[in-house]
């Protein structure tokens, strides 16, 4: 039974189609990456998932039931637009947000203190929120979305604006949540994190789903046709007939072949040409490659016919 199940949802604002026939499902205990360029409909989709807006058509199921507001106490949400009451003290703020999620005051207070300890901000619990750095405020909001131990955690761009140390800290917490059997959905532009940690992804652009599935499924659709070479001396790689695209830098070449099987010919020919190769690696495309390729294609389609923006 999927935790989130969107079937063919559609949302139109005035004349702008925000989401067009989106279908996706998130399995329990998985980490799900929602990818897409700016303005692609990620936030609109998330808002419909938690009933902030209602789809014009299509169905939203949470925890195997049709959406209803009482299910929201089982969801934790970190919006992309961060916001806290500036004048409120950190602890009061966390307790307030916790009680909105159905916790009683003393439990909310106890858990808030534990979390602040964990995320190394215990010393600021009695300060006003406006006195804190942006990173600390982000941690507070992160805590607020997890206080009620939600089974589904939805985070819109959770790491934007964080330094690498704190981004890692929060990522570890999300991995810990997954290890406890909770489902995590997050949207991000940071493909390296998605690639490393997500079990499944969905890529949307212009309100439409371009591809989705487990990381394996997605990647297996793309051949191992990328070659990375580290070399010294002269080279003639870009001219080789097997090479479709080449990016040659100082001693490093990133190539895309028409057919991955030609890699050994390329290697033989390069050595024959006299290039001194210190590293030669055949890889599958990175998620970033897939992202860029698909998004570019989706914009090309739109230009040539299917108008998403009316």
């Amino acid at each position: 039974m999927p935790i989130v199940d969107l079937q063919n949802i559609r949302k139109v604002y005035g004349s702008k189609v925000a989401v067009e026939g989106l279908t996706l499902s998130i399995e329990p205990g998985s980490m799900y990456g929602l990818l897409g360029p700016n303005g692609s409909g990620k936030t609109s989709s998330i808002r419909m998932m938690i009933g902030m807006t209602i789809p014009d058509s299509g169905t939203v199921n949470l925890f195997g039931q049709p959406f209803n507001r009482s299910l929201l106490t089982r969801v934790g949400y970190l919006p992309e637009e961060r916001g806290l009451y500036k004048k409120m003290k950190v602890l009061d703020q966390l307790v307030f947000l916790g009680s909105l999620h159905g916790l009683d005051t003393s439990l909310a207070r106890k858990r808030s203190l534990e979390w602040c300890e964990r995320l190394q901000i215990a010393d600021v619990v009695n300060k006003k929120t406006e006195a804190l750095s942006k990173g600390m405020q982000q941690k507070i909001q992160f805590i607020a979305s997890l206080l009620h131990r939600p089974e589904l955690i939805i985070m819109d761009e959770p790491f934007s604006g964080l330094d690498p140390v704190n981004a890692q800290l929060l990522m570890d917490e999300l991995l810990d949540q997954r290890a406890r059997g909770r489902s995590v959905l997050f949207s991000t532009h940071r493909m390296d994190q998605v690639e490393k940690f997500c079990d499944s992804i969905a890529l949307i652009s212009r309100g439409k789903l371009l591809l989705s599935g487990t990381m394996r499924e997605v990647k297996s659709k793309y051949p191992r046709n990328r070659v990375q070479i580290t070399f010294t001396g002269k080279e003639n790689l870009a001219a080789h007939p097997a090479v479709a695209e080449a990016r040659i830098g100082e001693g490093i070449a990133e190539l895309q072949l028409y057919n991955g099987d030609d890699a050994c010919h390329l290697l033989a020919d390069a050595i024959g040409y006299g290039t001194q190769i210190t590293r030669f690696e055949v890889t599958e495309p990175t998620l970033e490659d897939i992202f860029i390729e698909n998004v570019k294609a989706s914009f090309g389609d739109a230009d040539s016919g299917g108008a998403v923006d009316a």
Binding site: T53, G83, F96, L100
Partner: protein
């Protein structure tokens, strides 16, 4: 509280209330507003009763008695403390006075030229030349003084004893000890009117500001992930309103403490309370309706705008009806039972201020009070319905200001 709507409204209202009541701004307003208002009201009353006209004028008359009496009246009268020179008429005097009145260094404010009456029983011709045409205080005081001098002279000429004249010239006093002092009661009603006007204005704007605050701090998205916009709107209005009631409550308690402490026996003679408990009851009732009406309008305005500056441009929607009440109050003072007064005090936007004011002034029939409450409840329901729709869509819109057409379209969204 198992009803999630009530529970969420309660949480929002409680936070709003506690955060506001704890601010220094609230403490200051609670102490400063009555202090300032008291200082202004009592200060101006004090100035009005104690200040006397102090101009320097000249009186030119051939009637020596009239000159002396008028001088006495103006230099030591009830409301004058002038300096008066009396001259006998001559061309030299006229030239001197004309010169003096055009001399910047002279203190002379004007001169009165008295030409004796041509026949007995007529008043003399009185010509007053003032340095400044706008000097209304001197002119008025002079008129009153001349009147009373002439009256005294005429009464004395008719052989009325001096003691009788003094008694006649005293202002009469009405004994109202059976019902309490009318003037004090009127002043109290007037003060309550202004209090309500200020508090409705202040807290209406506070509701709008609080919504804009949440919009600019973007906390809405977090809140809306668990609660509905209607709950947020209701909680906000109730929370801010409760702060207003608290403030009024503090003032009322403070006022009672002062009145009962014996500091003010002269304010409330014979133990009649200035403000009756019924008046307070109606005040609270009408304040709540007034606040609900104006704060829901303000909430809609807040949801439509993105900054305080934008709100300022729209706050005429709050100010104009309140200003209308302000104008109407003069008509109501003169005839609190007139048709006009009845009609305007039944307009839901005006009822909170005007009906309450009329209740303080006169005996308003029960059907009018009931009707006004019904009309106000109806209005509140309609405005809240519209406001919650505008709110629902408007709070998630950042950046661009919506057009009227877009706003109408919002009504359809759910």
């Amino acid at each position: 509280m198992h009803n999630p709507f009530l529970h969420n409204v309660w949480l929002i209202a409680r936070r709003e209330y506690l955060e506001r009541v704890r601010t220094k701004g609230f403490m200051f307003a609670t102490v400063l507003i009555p202090t300032l208002m008291g200082t202004l009201v009592f200060g101006s009353l004090l100035l009005m009763t104690t200040s006397k006209t102090q101009s320097h004028i000249a009186v030119v008359t051939s009637d020596q008695n009239f000159g002396t009496d008028l001088r006495h009246q103006l230099e030591a009268g009830r409301d004058a403390d002038m300096k008066v020179d009396v001259y006998a008429p001559s061309d030299a005097i006229r030239d001197q006075l004309v010169r003096e009145i055009h001399n910047r260094n002279s203190t002379l404010a004007g001169y009165l030229w008295v030409t004796p009456a041509t026949s007995p029983g007529k008043n003399p011709d009185l010509a007053f030349t003032a340095r400044s045409v706008g000097d209304i205080a001197t002119k008025t005081t002079l008129e009153v003084a001349i009147n009373s001098v002439l009256m005294r002279e005429r009464l004395a000429a008719n052989h009325v004893p001096a003691a009788d004249i003094d008694t006649l010239m005293e202002p009469v006093k009405l004994d109202t000890s059976a019902t309490g002092d009318t003037t004090t009661a009127f002043n109290a009603a007037y003060m309550l009117f202004f209090l309500m006007y200020m508090v409705i204005m202040l807290y209406g704007m506070n509701t709008a500001r609080s919504i804009i605050d949440e919009k600019t701090s973007r906390i809405f998205e977090v809140l809306l992930a668990t609660i509905k916009p209607d709950e947020l709107l209701a909680g906000k209005i109730l929370g801010v309103g409760a702060v207003g009631l608290t403030q009024i409550g503090v003032w009322m308690v403070g006022a009672f403490a002062i009145l009962n402490s014996g500091l003010s026996h002269n304010l409330s003679p014979k133990g009649h309370p200035i403000i009756s408990s019924a008046q307070i009851g109606f005040f609270v009732l009408y304040f709540m309706f007034g606040f609900l009406i104006y704060s829901s309008v303000a909430a809609a305005l807040g949801a439509m705008t993105n900054s305080e500056q934008e709100l300022q441009q729209l706050n005429m929607f709050l100010v104009i009806p309140l200003a209308f009440c302000m104008v109407m109050i003069f008509a109501i003072i003169r005839a609190p039972d007139s048709g006009l007064a009845t009609v305007v005090s039944l307009i839901p936007f005006c009822s909170p201020l005007l009906m309450n004011f009329r209740i303080s002034l006169t005996h308003v029939p029960a059907w009018q009070i009931n009707l006004s409450v019904m009309l106000m409840s109806f209005t509140v329901a309609i405005i809240l319905w519209f406001a919650s729709r505008i709110y629902r869509v408007g709070i998630l819109m950042y950046g661009k200001k919506p057009s009227l057409v877009e706003m109408l379209r919002w009504m359809k969204y759910s």
